[in-house]
Symmetry: C2
Subunit: 415 residues, 2 copies
């Protein structure tokens, strides 16, 4: 557990967020100042950059330009969705990674990502231990989906939640300007967990959000859904619905797939074409309720709207990166940085803790069923209390000419 | 042209924007302080509220709550899409409007909207003149489409343009995190004019935006389009395309309709279903180029994202409302408030001018063809120079609990 001198790698992996670069900045700035870390490399496109021997020398970057990473969305170093094989079955990739680690004297490996990335991180950590190569491996959590196990919440979630809550409120107002009936269906990311769709309930909590919210945690029943919509529409002439993209029926089949069955939709070019689940639901409602409908997908915006990021989330994302380096430098390895929520005099506080990579890898954390209402079409106050502290504070990204000024890295390849 | 004492009505009409309530606030605050305006009424859902005798007494509102209108998107008083008939054919509505004007002693009528609304405004103005009822009628411009004739630009456009430029930049970064090929198609509002889609070029101008931009002003040629996309995709492995919803072919047929012809797309419930033009184009590219594609609709967000509004636009929207009242109070009638751009020592300045309602009603202003490049797939520097001043300055809407605090009006009905 003593002093280990050597170089480090920071890699970004999986879907990007508004704040993943803030975590990278936390790693890079802390590592550049470290007494034990001799060189700081950024991996191009995560673990792929290691396999391809494509590492950027982060010391070559202008420190002021680097600082702009704090408010730059997406993965500045590039990301990947590369799944490492089981080393007992095929250790080709691992041998290559070890070769590159030896070549650059990599003694610190920081990997920033979600479930799959923590699996990668865990496998590399275990392989290095097994092969007696001393390297401290630390996972830095990231995912808008908020489904990482063992942490109160994930960097990236708070900003996505803030965008979703804010945009839901704005759409609420827009959707009721005319005195004619309309039903609006919002499609929000989240294949297995409803943390993101649930965030729209913050808007509802303040009286300006969706009437109905459906999460993948509860089986979606089309008849009950249509009855819910009809009831609200008949009462108020409006209905706003938020659905997770991953809502599924009682058999576990995605509702999006249920729609895609039967006649295959084709355009005039003969190509099969189907919209997302919101567009299919809106279409169904239009025909059943004979009313005006509109489907809105929050699409990539919910994960890249850095202009609407939560400052709390940004600060915590940076902290996660910084804590990974500090802990590794002090001798810790094979862990992921995680958050623990503490309430001090009624105020939210976020503490760092460390959890074993083995525990976190590949385990999904879903919305507790007791936070979802009995009808399965909304969330309870517990969910609101959980989300609110995470969306506090407004990011103020630097702007030039009225548009954001994002980091432009030189990306000088290491020799 | 002397002193005319009496009540006023402010009405909002057509599609809402992020800043139409700022114009309403400009009218209301100025009218409430006026020596000649005795009462300030807000019409519920525009001219429909006049016809239905549904007028709100704006003096009953808390002034601090009213001030929140500055940053509240959508039409706080409610909007409508009601087209008045030609009074020579059917003057029923006009007689009713005059009856209401007499009932409340309405001597000032302010109508806030786009092309159709200025037509309404113009017809009312001419009817009152013809029938010898003294009432000063002023149009207050509003439209994200920016297609109102006779004004350099329209309140609402700058904020939509800022959202589009900002979001295009964020998506640019998000769309290139993986080292795999992708084509992204952005669908932007604008049925006849390409002002909004063109605003995405601001992102491109700073090197972080769409590669190709198609406006309704230029006939859309599918073969040239596919060749353009293929060329860029082959060169760079990525391609981002922005299209106006209103792009049409050489025969003037909407591309969205071209796709909808032929086989009718049906989902498993037997309902015809087709996406927007971006989704159809993305689907076509996927099949032709055999690559990953994604369609993103900016949908309602582009007109209601008050959290990303341009402060310049907000200030000018307020100014338009204020100028309408001041000019009417001083004796002017039958005009729309318009803007004239002046450049003083290289700095943008926006001056108010007045134009005849007859001239502005029902005339559309399109993007000058000389601002569009020869290939018809982008805009020139003149367009950028035009847009940039309009998107300057960031709105800072009041927030409570991390989400916007929008105006909640009491809407007390006038007796």
């Amino acid at each position: 557990m003593g002093c280990l001198k050597g170089a480090c790698i920071i890699g970004q992996s999986g879907g990007p967020t508004s704040v993943i670069n803030a975590s990278a900045l936390g790693v890079i700035e802390t590592a550049l100042k470290s007494d034990v870390i001799t060189k700081v490399y950024g991996a191009a496109h995560g673990i792929r950059g290691v396999l391809d021997d494509k590492l950027y020398d982060m010391a070559q970057e202008d420190p002021d330009e680097l600082k702009l990473l704090m408010n730059t969305p997406s993965s500045a170093l590039g990301s990947c969705r590369y799944k490492l094989k089981d080393p007992d079955q095929d250790d080709t990739d691992y041998k290559r990674i070890l070769e590159i680690f030896r070549k650059y004297d990599i003694r610190y490996f920081f990997y920033n990502g979600g479930n799959d990335s923590m699996d990668t991180c865990n496998k590399i950590s275990k392989y290095m231990i097994k092969n007696g190569y001393e390297c401290r491996v630390m996972g830095v959590p990231k995912t808008i989906d908020n489904d990482l196990f063992g942490t109160d919440h994930c960097p990236g979630y708070g900003s996505a939640a803030k965008f979703i809550a804010t945009t839901s409120m704005e759409i609420y107002h827009d959707a009721r300007v005319y005195d004619i009936g309309t039903v609006t269906v919002l499609e929000i990311m989240g294949r297995h967990a409803g943390w993101l769709a649930g965030a729209s309930a913050v808007a509802s909590y303040f009286g300006e959000g969706p009437d109905l919210i459906y999460l993948p945690e509860v089986p979606f029943d089309m008849d009950r859904f249509l009855a819910d919509v009809k009831r609200i529409y008949d009462e108020t002439g409006k209905c706003i619905i938020a659905v997770s993209e991953g809502i599924s029926n009682r058999d576990g089949k995605l509702i999006a797939e249920v729609f895609a069955e039967g006649d295959v939709a084709r355009d005039s070019f003969g190509h099969a074409q189907l919209g997302g689940v919101a567009s299919s639901l809106a279409n169904l409602i239009k025909h059943q309720l004979k009313c005006k409908t509109r489907a809105i997908e929050f699409s990539l915006m919910q994960r890249c709207a850095a202009h609407c990021a939560s400052q709390t989330d940004l600060d915590e994302a940076y902290l996660a990166g910084k804590a990974a380096v500090e802990n590794a430098a002090s001798g810790i390895t094979d862990k992921m940085v995680a958050f623990e929520r503490e309430t001090v005099n009624g105020k939210y506080r976020c503490n760092v803790k460390l959890i074993d990579l083995t525990i976190v890898a590949n385990t999904e954390k879903k919305v507790p069923l007791e936070w979802i209402n009995e009808a399965g079409n909304g969330v309870k106050k517990e969910f609101i209390d959980y989300v609110l502290p995470l969306i506090q504070g407004e990011a103020s990204p630097p702007r030039v000419n009225g548009v954001p000024r994002f980091a432009k890295l030189k990306k000088v390849l290491a020799k």
